[in-house]
Point group: C2
Chain length 379, copies 2
Amino acid sequence: MNITIDREILLENLNVISRGLPAKSPMPILTGIKFEATDSDLYLTSSNTDISVEVLINDVSLEITEPGKTVVPGKFFIEIIRKINSKKVNLYLIDDKILVIRADRGEYKLHIMDYMDYPNVDFVCLENPLKLDAQILKKIIKETVFATAASEKKPILTGVNFKNEGGKLIATATDSFRLSQKIISIEDYNDFNITIPNKSLDELLKAIDLYDDELSLYFSNNKLLIKYKNVLFQTRLLDGNYPPTSKLIPNEFPIIIKFNKDELVDAVERVSLLSPRDKERDKEITYSIIKLSIKKDRIIEISSTNASIGDAKEEIIPTNVEASNPITIGFSSRYLLEALRSFMSTEVSLNLSGEIRPFVITGENDANLTQLILPVRMN
Amino acid sequence: MNITIDREILLENLNVISRGLPAKSPMPILTGIKFEATDSDLYLTSSNTDISVEVLINDVSLEITEPGKTVVPGKFFIEIIRKINSKKVNLYLIDDKILVIRADRGEYKLHIMDYMDYPNVDFVCLENPLKLDAQILKKIIKETVFATAASEKKPILTGVNFKNEGGKLIATATDSFRLSQKIISIEDYNDFNITIPNKSLDELLKAIDLYDDELSLYFSNNKLLIKYKNVLFQTRLLDGNYPPTSKLIPNEFPIIIKFNKDELVDAVERVSLLSPRDKERDKEITYSIIKLSIKKDRIIEISSTNASIGDAKEEIIPTNVEASNPITIGFSSRYLLEALRSFMSTEVSLNLSGEIRPFVITGENDANLTQLILPVRMN
């Protein structure tokens, strides 16, 4: 193999390939990137147990002097290409043992891995795609994925369920304490009901971050393949039936409070300051329980109590209140903040149906987006 | 105690106070901030075992309705003041048990700590200061502190030594594998020879980050007090005699190579990519050994070898070479990078006196800054 290519083009493709590259793997070969240079094209492939990515490069800058195949240490290769600043890079094999990277006055030699060890990656057959706008899919993912379960207790809840019911795509995520649901209309297509792992959706978001055009989705029994530009992004699907959720969402709300979203977010963040918190693995901050009450003068009070530190209380003047009776509910401030941040709307509604009944958040400019939170019993 | 003050003024002072606030402490009272409101002024104090900070606030926005004293949980208090966005805050005590923070429609109550438990902080007597420009001190610290020892094996090496020898201030740091030294002229002042803990210097850098005016330094036996604006910043000094270092620095260099600094940094960073590395506590990247050789055509080659991954090699055309004979030296790329980054100069000189003799880096526009690195023996 001997190829030359613009460094920027190669790097752009490597950034996509890195989405399927495991940091570690029980199969060390998978920490490599598979190269296949034909007479005219260069294919790069990466794969971990959940995600497989393939890019086809046939950029005008690509010159293939000698076709060939190899597997190169992924992390090191990407770091080198990222760090060099030449216009072009030349890649060639010596004795099928070493990959040489030449860039300006630099020369890097990487011990390659055995191409024959690389497992065959089966991509779903490219037939009968569902077309979806990338911007819309990114939005749906951001509106729902945070509500998936972090724990593997119920594996099916670690994914977002995508269901087509007669032209309506319903995306649902729940960790059984809260639920996010978004419904959009899609083109005429076979019904489907799949659950995509949250990690795959996180990686997909990064892969298509700068892409705002059409995606093609190909379905198989246990995989979903997304094709765009020169990229194939495939993820395994979660096994099992997603639990029915439609009955969880109340449809009558005697109490509706409308807020300026940013004011509500600020107040909840401040009141949460005194909550005990853990810095978890991913630096996520766990807020504890806060209370929301309607006071006599229709002012809303948000408060928290921390026996060892102290108390916090904020009053907010809502933009509107419809309430037949006073109410106090308690809930996780983190759930509320994450739900609120999924809305574009300036004004959001908290729709309550009882102190221990799930409450629902909607936004005036976020049609068909429902965020539901289960309150906790307060004493 | 009952005071009202502009939130921004309070926050600005808390950012300085936080430099002396331990996250944890064997003396829990020290995780608090001491408040003392007199009729006209507010004093805030923080202290850990190494650093004590006091600020005196008498801003026009300060209104003291009731003088008083207390100790408040430092981290929570700072987080609340940081997060609220009112113009003013009102702080008052209830029953000497609770501090109330009122800001717009928010009310926060913190259990206070026992003022009587707060240890007396002895600040060095404010007599006979050495005046030093803050910009100059910040520069000296940044040029030296990275070369202090991280390990406590030889505690004295965890600090930067500041010595006044007849009007010359000599700042020296060494971890015994490398050495940084900066010499500046100062006003007429008593000779001194003190070693300041590196952590105190890091915190001092943050405290005076936005301050570019004159500092007053007050010396005592085992403490240094730095006074500026309304702030007293005091650090303990390290015990013991700093080892003599003047004989370590060679004064004859048969080989002098001049480089464009940025080109050299880039090449060394790239060649270091293949080095095995550990992400340590502070995300510091440990680079391993690289080699530098003068080739026949006076091109400089920088290279590294990693048995399991591969080799890296970069050629650099130096801006000038004075060399009587070829030479190859090996050294830690991290040491070289950290040393190079301490220079403002566009052009730097590597001054070599032998394959296993320390080499010295100087910069055309960095007068009196010396960076020395001990090479390792190459086979």
